[in-house]
Amino acid sequence: MFRNRNFGYWPLESIGEHIARLNNEFNRVITRGWRETERAFPAFNIWSNAEGAVLAAELPGVKVEDIELTVSGNVVTIKGSRKNLLAGDDKYVRRERQEGEFVRTFELPFQVEPAKVKAESAKGILRLELPRAEADKPKRIEVRSA
């Protein structure tokens, strides 16, 4: 919709609003064992510029190998689960940490280059690097006077 409204300049405000709006529509959490379903889990922060976006999520205890990441055009889906396992005699005295399966979907305002997507996690924070597809990047067209 707002693509190429300005050549070479990507309106950041629109990206934020765009993501926030779509997030409300798309995002769902498979509720199993969640006590507070209104909270999106995991919580995401998104950084962006003309070259792409970086998504970070707080996912303590979840390894990057346990995340299923799907990129299709401009839609990114992050799927996974967190299970808190107990040994035989262990009993919960208090239970606050969220567990269960989760799915989050974000539609970005640009096409993603799937081959260049990077996913890593450190200290319980998942980080996804989603570079913008080369073909999707705005090109400056030289204007010559006749």
């Binding site: 300049y9 997030n23 919580a43 995401f44 707080e58 303590p60 919960y92 005295v93 239970r95 200290k123």
Partner: protein, 142 residues
């Protein structure tokens, strides 16, 4: 109008619970402090405290026991990406802080703690209920 709005993580609708301060007391410094969610598991021999502290590692965690209060504190490094701007935020960054009162039957000297993938595990063994028998002497000769 395409004026780029700057997002401030401090204003983000955080999914995390902030540390409550006593009335009239304000937090020193600009960073927020959050209460990490915990599971407490007991198997009769030991109590295990598991806390979610994303972004915290061995160098930024502090576990302390003073009298009968166990305190966990974490100070994660803020995340920044060069040349990128925050455009959407669901969680705020900040420190983690929480205290627990432990019962008397705790073996304080053998508490161990470990942090892995942003999950802190504190193992608190129970003191053996060795009802120590106190030898009673006899002093009256005869």
């Amino acid at each position: 109008m395409d004026t780029a709005k700057t997002y401030d993580m401090k204003e983000s609708p955080s999914s995390k619970e902030e540390v409550a301060m006593p009335e009239g007391v304000e937090r020193f410094g600009s960073r927020k402090a959050f209460v990490p969610p915990v599971d407490i598991v007991d198997n009769g021999k030991q109590t295990v405290l598991i806390a979610d502290m994303p972004g915290v590692d061995q160098d930024s965690i502090e576990v302390m026991i003073e009298k009968n209060v166990l305190t966990i504190k974490g100070k994660p490094q803020p995340i920044e990406f060069q040349g990128l701007q925050l455009v959407y935020s669901e969680y705020a960054e900040g420190d983690f802080e929480r205290s627990f009162t432990v019962t008397e039957d705790v073996d304080r000297d053998n508490i161990t703690a470990n942090i892995k993938e942003g999950v802190l595990t504190v193992v608190i063994p129970k003191a053996r209920p060795a009802a120590r028998r106190i030898a009673v002497g006899q002093s009256d000769a005869g």
